[in-house]
Symmetry: C2
Subunit: 232 residues, 2 copies
Amino acid sequence: MAARSYGQYCGLTRAVELVGERWALLIIRDLLVGPRRYTDLKQGLPRIPTNILSTRLKELQEGGVVRRVPLARCGLVYELTPYGRALEPIMLALGRWGFQTMGDPAEGDVVTPDSLTMALRTAFRPERAEDADFELHVGDVALRARVRDRMLTVAQLAPPAPPVGGAPPSGDPEGVIVAGPGIRRLIGGEITADEAVAQDVAAVVRGDEEILARFAGMFRIDPIEPIEPIDP
Amino acid sequence: MAARSYGQYCGLTRAVELVGERWALLIIRDLLVGPRRYTDLKQGLPRIPTNILSTRLKELQEGGVVRRVPLARCGLVYELTPYGRALEPIMLALGRWGFQTMGDPAEGDVVTPDSLTMALRTAFRPERAEDADFELHVGDVALRARVRDRMLTVAQLAPPAPPVGGAPPSGDPEGVIVAGPGIRRLIGGEITADEAVAQDVAAVVRGDEEILARFAGMFRIDPIEPIEPIDP
DNA sequence: CCGGATCCGAATCGATACTG
DNA sequence: CAGTATCGATTCGGATCCGG
């Protein structure tokens, strides 16, 4: 039996053995945004020890979740295999689940470009989507998000994107939203767009302020019903 | 910042901090089957150190995922909160994902009643369901599974169920299936019911042998398409 | 700058023993 | 039954180092 095996013959156990080690799911989160170099991953996961990153990447390759690709344009990158990409809906659902109980950021917590990108994907509701094209700034991170035809695409503007990222669309966005961590409350439906502006949670620094309401309409994670139906 | 925090402000990170520690998801898997006493959990997770079980249960309670309920009939049990139960679709999806690459069992791997119950739920396809009522034996584990109205219910027959489990239906099942770990290949669609019988992967020891084909029709986890569309 | 490998103290895990 | 206590074996985290 493998060293860190749980000793059970079960699909979930297998999954946890593949991607349940510390840091593994966060590495996969970043790779869901796009292929990344070793250094990109290290920057996107500021607190990961380099030896752990190295070890996890090897394990994930061995498990068929990640592969290492020498890329002509920019050296060596890691990317998800099709099997690894099959985790995407699970990661989005897990992100939604965790979002429900996210409090305020702890001291030292950071928001990275890839985590914000995945947060947008997590919160995106295709069924409510309407075309839009805006910039979102949170801390040092700036993204360009575009919705066309109920499809969301996100590109990283700042910090300067890794060479592998998709290029942002040319032309100007409809508006620029600058937000703090409190934007969680807007996405969570705790406050309205107007309240977000009033409480300085978010501001529209360019374009029509109405874009914030459109944002809040499409990017939404509803709380689970707080029923407590169990009665011993 | 908390001791084992990842230092990121992100929904997925929060989720991983809540349920990503070693053994936590397997504890949750067992609790998805029903409330369990400390000892039930320890039996269902034969290789978990008791201090880890104790620690995880405390952490999961603190995270609002699990609660401890003094139950009149049988002492103290742990059960999922509504928030914890919200993990069910995610756990089923993760189980399906891991199932795809489950090889043969390693030496010493066990199949527990709760893991087999969740495996059945994982593989169940409501859209293909037809009424059925059968016993499934794998190793020492025996379950009674019943499908009515496209809903699956599973009860544990052996080993003797924890007092909290639902009672099995009265009356005889339509058939009794005895299988080995190779039943994975039947569920995975690698072999047909006839081949499973021919290869001694499964046998119908009571009732009409046709029930195995009906089983295979409703309980199925298809492989992900093995496309490799990336071309650097 | 990129892609790691190495080293070492601190924290966690795993196994066993023990207790109310 | 429901855990706590103890202790050696691993792993993790942080820092540094190194070849390209």
